[in-house]
Symmetry: C2
Subunit: 299 residues, 2 copies
């Protein structure tokens, strides 16, 4: 693996970490201005700015680079994807869901700001993600592609994406946990936003439909592999993710087919991901490295 | 008042009630298809399809008609506004917020589907609202105005709108309840979505900036009046709204300045609303009727 991948991801992370707080700063809409102290913005900031790997923005940039997209056009859409991801973490941790007390080694959002504000902070970040895409469509990118991103992010987050994945996850007991159902949960809960991130890079780089389909396939496989690796690493070291949840862990592939089986699955998925990149030849080197690095982490 | 207003509102309500369920029906995104029964869509449908007056869609249509917008362009955006409103009701009722057991005379959503699914249903409806706007932008309306609607709906729902209003509402005790703060809460919690609804009609009818400002002013005043009338009617008949909440009622104008003062405020607000319509002359008759009907309900 070249050194380019860690360097690129680290650079994207810096760009995103510098940009995210600015995207929550926008002044109130005219006519609603006042000086009442509002407890919501600090809760939303805490949810968004807690330290994270920014993997999904990284994927937006890597796929964008493949199609020659300018980085200034990628940054805000990448931040929008991260906003939806951060919201999903705040909501997953709620007492009525995973009932987590810590996340990324810090107290879970609702234990600090209250359950009500944790819910509203999650909603706020989701709503703001769409606002950021709309703002981009009036500045760095044109309205038509911006609206395309709105559509893809909505599909990835709602009834056919994240929210559905979380609902299935919460309502799937060990006894119902078939291979297909676990795959569906992971595909919606993790895969859908990975796919949206890759689509963002492709759309912003002007990819053709066939190219878009190829990066979708890549991202779907990488997203599933990412989730399995995460589950494997958590089994080896429960403290690693810094999350402590009271709810029994959801059915995972590692539980369903065993650790060896889960590792084989990661090998297969990353292989499929890399195969999907074939049409791009050497230009897709960093995306190949991204999938290989994931595979290597699981073994 | 002419008979046209009730007729128009009733027609819009029928159109919206017929359209809303269809907007939750869209098939899953390619690659995420499966036949696992998902508890989320029924929860989202219950949240959206419970009987309501559809006042905000009515406002989209009334303002749209003022600017000659075609009704086929108004319908889906009006449904998007109603989706955000329905989501806000489901979230407001949660145990960590108003802790309501009934809404519109029916069991509150979380008492039927569980708190987790009520939260996810709320999130889902919000996300779908943006998806519906994006779909409109690729069919009945062009991308640029559709993206404009995305931006306005995001501003009205998040950190500077609904979510902020709810956060201030939850964290304002009787002692902090100044006139200005109550106005801010109402302006964000109720006014912002009324303003967005009016803006939707204006943007879709191709209103000029000055005309847009006039209908904004109208909707802001009508939204505040609507909230006060609602509070007054609920004081007279607590069973009227069909909502039973365990949390102490929030500070309202009726409590702060007394019922007589609140009625005077409604008179003033509806007068301001009607004044804002002056540039439109007789064309704005239905919007005038809408404000007058609100005033009459409070006395």
């Amino acid at each position: 693996m070249s050194l380019d991948l860690p360097e690129t991801l680290s650079r994207v992370r810096s760009l995103v970490d510098a940009r995210l707080p600015k995207l929550l700063e926008r002044g109130p809409a005219a006519g609603l201005l006042d000086d009442v102290p509002d407890p919501l913005p600090p809760a939303a900031r805490d949810a968004l700015l807690s330290p994270g790997k920014r993997v999904r923005p990284g994927l937006v940039f890597l796929v964008g680079a493949l199609f020659g997209a300018k980085e200034e056009r990628l940054l805000d859409p990448a931040c929008a994807v991260e906003m939806v991801h951060a919201a999903s973490l705040a909501l997953d941790d709620l007492p009525s869901m995973d009932d987590a007390t810590t996340r990324r080694g810090r107290p879970a959002l609702h234990t600090v700001h209250g359950e009500d504000l944790a819910i509203l902070a999650g909603v706020t970040l989701i709503v703001r993600a769409f606002g950021v895409l709309a703002d981009s469509g009036l500045s760095t990118i044109r309205p038509a592609p911006a609206l395309d991103l709105v559509s893809r992010l909505a599909d990835a987050s709602g009834l056919w994406g994240l929210a559905s994945g979380q609902s299935l996850d919460l309502r799937t007991g060990e006894a119902d946990a078939s291979f297909d159902r676990i795959e569906t949960i992971h595909a919606r809960k993790t895969g859908a936003l990975f796919v949206a991130a890759a689509e963002f890079g492709a759309v912003l780089g002007g990819a053709r439909p066939k190219e878009l389909a190829a990066v979708r396939s890549y991202a779907k496989n990488v997203g599933l592999a990412f989730q399995i690796v995460d589950d494997l690493l958590e089994r080896q070291d429960p403290a690693r993710t810094g999350k402590h949840a009271r709810r029994a862990p959801t059915p995972t592939f590692a539980r369903h087919v065993g650790e060896e089986g889960a590792r084989r699955l990661v090998q297969e998925l990353t292989l499929h991901a890399i195969e999907a990149l074939e049409p791009f030849g050497a230009r897709a080197a960093l995306l190949r490295d991204f999938a290989s690095a994931l595979r290597d982490r699981s073994s």
